[in-house]
Subunit: 155 residues, 2 copies
DNA sequence: GTGGATGCAAAGTGTTTGCATGGAC
DNA sequence: GTCCATGCAAACACTTTGCATCCAC
């Protein structure tokens, strides 16, 4: 990992942003929150709470804290939940946050490897679906599943 | 519900099909399996195991049996799992089965109402994603989420 | 100093499994 | 009669919650 002792001293606008968000929500900026958001920012991929816990310095915090932090970040719009259909919660940096962008995933059904996909559905499909059924604030979730090159060889 | 006492007597080709599938898989055709598949066929929508148990005649079978039956049916390709992101398993009749067809869903984030959507992604998107990453047997999952007309009024 | 964040353990929720019994073939 | 399906209860995996303590502000 990287030295966390220096992080405080540095002025970093993107950090300012999230700290402001947290404080506006009457929340507090703690070391584990900083480090969790840092991981999500640095590595753009879906993280399970377990993954995050494992990537933090040993004994940095409890799994329950990771869950609570992620839930809070989600409410604040800092992170978004990713659902890959295996019944585990995953999170990544929100697409409108620095470091985030709209994308989908391609998951190997064998080894669970996850690739990021930048292709997306046609812009009008979402609005058409919304219009046809009178729904508002319509978003979509699109995930691809298949067998990755390595697992094709293995089988 | 409908009289289940007569069902056995009737010759029904679509029933023949699934029964053959089950038997080929060294499985047995039982009353609860018949009734579960019947429900899935008659009502094209995502069912949770609980939903199914509730729709069966009282004391027909155990929740564990519903799970085991659905798992088996999924292996046989009779039903398919639907994931709407709330961490509950849902199943519908498989799209290549009589009574099934390819479709997606539009879910209300407030009241969880589920609508069926026949729009789909462009045919070439899936194959392009597969080709670009060397994946095989690529399928996709596309779900829409929004606020339904009724919940818009409520809020 | 105050109120939110945390650790720990316990409770929850949905799902799966072990084992003896029942039923399809 | 054989073997799979079932009921029941226990086990499971992941997530949430209660409560005393800690720490950001």
């Amino acid at each position: 990992m990287k030295s966390s002792s220096k992080r405080r001293a540095r002025v970093d606008s993107s950090h300012q942003d999230w700290k402001a968000s947290v404080r506006q929500g009457a929340g507090r900026v703690t070391r584990s929150r900083e480090e969790i958001l840092e991981l999500l920012r640095q590595h753009q991929r879906p993280w399970t709470p377990q993954d995050l816990l494992g990537a933090l310095p040993p004994r940095r915090c409890d799994l329950a804290t990771v869950y609570r932090t992620l839930t809070r970040f989600e409410e604040l719009g800092l992170v978004q939940r990713v659902d890959l259909g295996d019944g585990r919660a995953r999170f990544e940096i929100a697409e409108n946050q620095p470091g985030g962008h709209h994308h989908h995933h391609l998951v190997c059904r064998d080894c669970s490897q996850i690739l990021e996909i930048d292709d997306c559905i046609p812009a009008d499909l979402e609005s058409r679906v919304a219009r046809q059924h009178g729904f508002r604030n319509v978003t979509h979730r699109l995930e691809f599943f298949g067998i990755c090159p390595r697992c094709q060889r293995g089988t």
